[in-house]
């Protein structure tokens, strides 16, 4: 088991190194940071000095060495735009992204499971057909379009919900800010969470529907029926429980991508999270923010995958045998 964990961690480190290399290579093509940091009529002498002080004149390999060295020391530097430490900027933005992602994931899980179960049990009802159609929309429409449609409908035309921002937030402790505790904070969360969770919701719904239909055909369900158990207890006590194992795996893995893909939702709803910070950093060639964000997302995926692998080991005895080998 220990050898397995060590092997997996070593692999994870390799993945992180690859992310660092790719990120660094990308920065060489996004443009010149210096021209974004000063006005266009800045004397060239000053521009040259700035370039030198940022180490942009050093050979690529030296720059990469410095980049990796700083990452290893958890030093992500100072944002070119804001002149503030990147770790501080990301830490301030992280609660917004995480609250949005978790809300979206919970929304996707609950609504997805309910709709999936309903569709599996009442396959031919008109409501099931409506759900199926909605799920097709969720899969095929791009996130930014859904977001803008929701904004125009619920914020501009109906005026029920805010179109952007986080509403009133409450500070908890040193680093965390939450929108869960205020009315405007909760209202502000609704549209972006639906937008972000819609794709995952349809995915979960389709998965639950297929799994459930599969399970309903198995012998033990037939036996349960033959024993005269209540339909309710067959559906939810036996069938659903067995359906949920793959669903939870998928949902867990998807949490990483919800956080990573929050970029678009955050931009559309002007949600002050890490994603919008990253997007603006790309536009302004703010390399320190881009680097830190990419490393963070890479790290997140690696950790989630590692956790899932380890959890499999705990759950499935066959894998435990393989691990020992």
């Amino acid at each position: 088991m220990l050898a397995f964990i060590i092997r997996r961690i070593a692999q994870s480190l390799f993945v992180m190194a690859a992310v660092a290399l790719i990120a660094f290579l990308m920065f060489r093509f996004v443009g010149d940071p210096v021209n974004q940091m000063v006005g266009i009529d800045t004397p060239q002498e000053e521009v040259a000095r700035l370039r030198e002080s940022l180490g942009l004149n050093d050979p690529a390999i030296v720059q990469f060495g410095r980049f990796v060295w700083n990452i290893v020391h958890f030093d992500f530097g100072i944002s070119y735009q804001f002149r503030l430490p990147v770790t501080q900027l990301l830490a301030e933005r992280a609660p917004a992204t995480l609250e949005l992602a978790v809300t979206a994931a919970i929304f996707a899980l609950i609504v997805g499971v309910i709709m999936g179960v309903y569709c599996a049990l009442n396959r031919d009802s008109w409501l099931a057909r409506v759900f199926q159609a909605v799920s097709l929309v969720g899969v095929s429409l791009p996130t930014f379009l859904i977001g803008i449609l929701l904004i125009y409908l619920f914020a501009v035309i109906l005026g029920w919900l805010p179109s952007n921002g986080r509403g009133q937030v409450v500070k908890i402790g040193q680093w965390w800010t939450t929108g869960f505790l205020t009315g405007s904070g909760l209202k502000a969360l609704i549209l972006p969470a639906i937008t972000l969770g819609l794709f995952q919701m349809t995915l979960i719904m389709r998965l639950v529907r297929a799994e459930m239909m599969e399970v309903m055909r198995t012998d033990y369900i037939k036996f349960a029926k033959a024993r005269g158990l209540k339909t309710r207890s067959i559906h939810f006590g036996h069938a659903l429980k067995n359906t949920l194992i793959p669903v939870i795996t998928i949902a867990g893995l998807q949490l990483g991508s919800i956080i990573a893909f929050a970029i678009i939702t955050e931009t559309v709803f002007n949600w002050p999270g890490m994603g919008i910070l990253f997007l603006k950093a790309v536009q302004n060639v703010d390399i320190p923010i881009m680097a830190a964000y990419l490393m963070l997302i890479g790290f997140l995926f690696v950790v989630i995958n590692l956790a899932v692998d380890l959890a499999y080991g705990l759950v499935d005895p066959r894998l435990r045998v393989a691990m020992r080998a």
Partner: protein, 530 residues
């Protein structure tokens, strides 16, 4: 006390309170596409940042609603010794927001700080200017050569408190390569009409009215909440849904939508920025062209042909949806007295074709064009229109429309001016022609700041001589005539193709009244909200 009595009493108390509470504080909510990145007023010289910080900080001079220079922290000044010595009389009884008085020491400190390494405003104050404290409220500035337009940009050279900066370890401007954040990029202490209550970079900034301000209040606001909303559709939606009161800019395609709503409108007007096309006239062979061994743009007939082959009215009509002012000059007409004497050359593709043939290109030629796609209003679309128009005279343009980060890296001096044909926009920071002639038309030479943004390398010694004279000429009439002479040469040689001044477009709620200044500064200390 029974519960019922208690409730009644509480209800009565609430009712009384509701009557006593004064009229609600007036809050103006404003969204811009860009961030307020640093509160250090010497970090980034950019119109939006300068306008934001102009609510908090003030310069020795100010610019009014019509952009005229007026007194600011200096009540008045005298130009002595043929513009080689300036004497500034500072306003008395002015206090910084932390309560310290404003004196000559702060001016001298700010003059040093603004010229220090890491400042993006070094050119605001001439390098050779010596600041001498005469008394607490009088400062002399001594120059080695006359400079009649020295104060042209001093309205955005903001004065910082010496004591405060020193106490907070912020005597030097925050350099880009800093490893520790500076206090001053997160905190502000100016003399202006508003103070900053909270600032979360890139998320939200709250300005509170400064009750102790020295000037006469021209607004009725208690608070300004600024949020950056980079996405245009979201910004417009926020205005339409009433979550913000003012947005800048409104994309041209959304203007009818905003105007058709019941409670918001678009304020539009000509901006000072001139959008133009430029040619590489310095290389002997163009970098991106099929013409080898010579540079077609060195021939004035080719530049002339390009000037008359591009239909500026059509660009205004179809690309800019009517929101631009076609331009014959490289400066906005309001900034130069004799603008009316310059007319746009008539659009005529047949004549353009003939000029090309005379120059030895009867079948046209091929050239690469660089164009930003996220910098100016509809920039990439303008370039596409130009490509189509030039195709009619046989010139095949290979358009490279790219994000500004890559565009500027390629075409500016730091990138080696690697362009053959380009689109650029320019607002003279001084609102004066000298800047246009010096920066865009001056001959490029090694180790000289003259002509640094003259990307095409246009060069005429006569123009340089005139530019040098214009700098030191103190008589405004004579100066204008010199400028006119210079422009006659540059337009006669078709140094550039000026296209238009793009339009300002701000979205405002009907109940908000504000002043739209032509330099696109959103200054809410002139705003009232009903």
């Amino acid at each position: 006390m029974t519960i019922r009595k208690f409730l009644l009493a509480a209800g009565a108390a609430l009712a009384i309170q509701a009557v006593v509470v004064p009229a609600q504080a007036v809050t103006l909510r404003y969204a811009n596409q860009g961030d307020l990145k640093s509160l250090d007023p010497y970090t980034l010289n950019e119109t939006t940042a300068n306008a934001h910080l102009g609510h908090v900080y003030e310069g020795l001079t100010s610019r009014g609603k019509d952009l005229k220079v007026g007194p600011g922290l200096a009540e008045k000044w005298e130009v002595l010794d043929g513009a080689k010595k300036w004497r500034f009389h500072l306003r008395k009884n002015v206090k910084f927001q932390n309560g310290e008085p404003f004196t000559a020491d702060d001016v001298i400190f700010s003059a040093e700080r603004v010229r220090a390494t890491g400042s993006n405003f070094q050119t605001r104050v001439p390098k050779d200017a010596k600041f001498v404290k005469v008394d607490d409220y009088t400062v002399d500035v001594e120059l080695s050569s006359p400079n009649p337009i020295m104060v042209a940009q001093w309205d955005t050279w903001y004065i910082i408190s010496k004591k405060w900066a020193e106490a907070n370890n912020s005597t030097a401007p925050t350099p880009a390569s800093a490893t520790t954040p500076s206090y001053i990029s997160l905190h502000a202490n100016g003399t202006g009409p508003f103070s900053i209550e909270s600032h979360q970079p890139g998320v939200k900034t709250v300005f509170k009215v400064n009750k102790g301000w020295w000037g006469k209040k021209e607004h009725n606001l208690d608070e300004i909440i600024f949020t950056p909303i980079p996405n245009a559709a979201t910004r417009v939606a926020a205005l339409l849904s009433g979550e913000v009161d003012v947005i800048e800019p409104v994309p041209v395609q959304d203007i009818p939508r905003v105007n058709s709503s019941a409670d918001s409108k678009v304020l539009a007007g000509p901006e000072l920025r001139t959008i133009f096309l430029g040619f590489d006239q310095s290389r002997d062979e163009l970098l991106e062209s099929n013409v080898k061994g010579k540079n077609p743009f060195k021939d004035v007939r080719v530049r002339h042909a390009f000037n008359i082959a591009i239909d500026k009215e059509a660009i205004k009509r179809s690309v800019m949806r009517g929101l631009s002012t076609p331009s014959a000059l490289m400066i906005a007409p309001t900034l130069f007295t004799y603008s009316k004497d310059f007319k746009n050359p008539k659009f005529d593709s047949a004549a353009a074709k003939k000029l090309l043939a005379d120059a030895g290109y009867p079948n046209g030629f091929e050239v690469g064009m660089d164009c930003p796609n996220d910098r100016y209003v509809n920039d990439a679309q303008i370039c596409q229109a130009v490509v189509g128009m030039l195709a009619r005279i046989g010139v095949k343009v290979n358009l490279n429309a790219q994000p500004k980060a890559q565009y500027f890296a390629k075409v500016l001096k730091s990138g080696g001016y690697k362009t053959s044909f380009f689109l650029l926009g320019w607002t003279p920071g001084t609102f004066d022609s000298h800047n246009v002639l010096n920066d865009l038309h001056g001959c490029r030479t090694e180790n000289s700041p003259i002509g640094e943004t003259n990307l095409g390398g246009y060069c005429n010694k006569k123009v340089d001589e005139l530019t040098a004279k214009i700098l030191v000429e103190a008589d405004p009439k004579k100066r204008d005539l010199l400028i006119k002479e210079a422009y006659e040469i540059t337009t006669g040689e078709y140094a550039y193709v000026p296209l238009h001044q793009q339009a300002l477009s701000w979205g405002v709620k009907m109940n908000v009244n504000l002043v739209q200044r032509a330099d696109n500064s959103v200054l809410l200390y002139w705003a009232t909200k009903k």
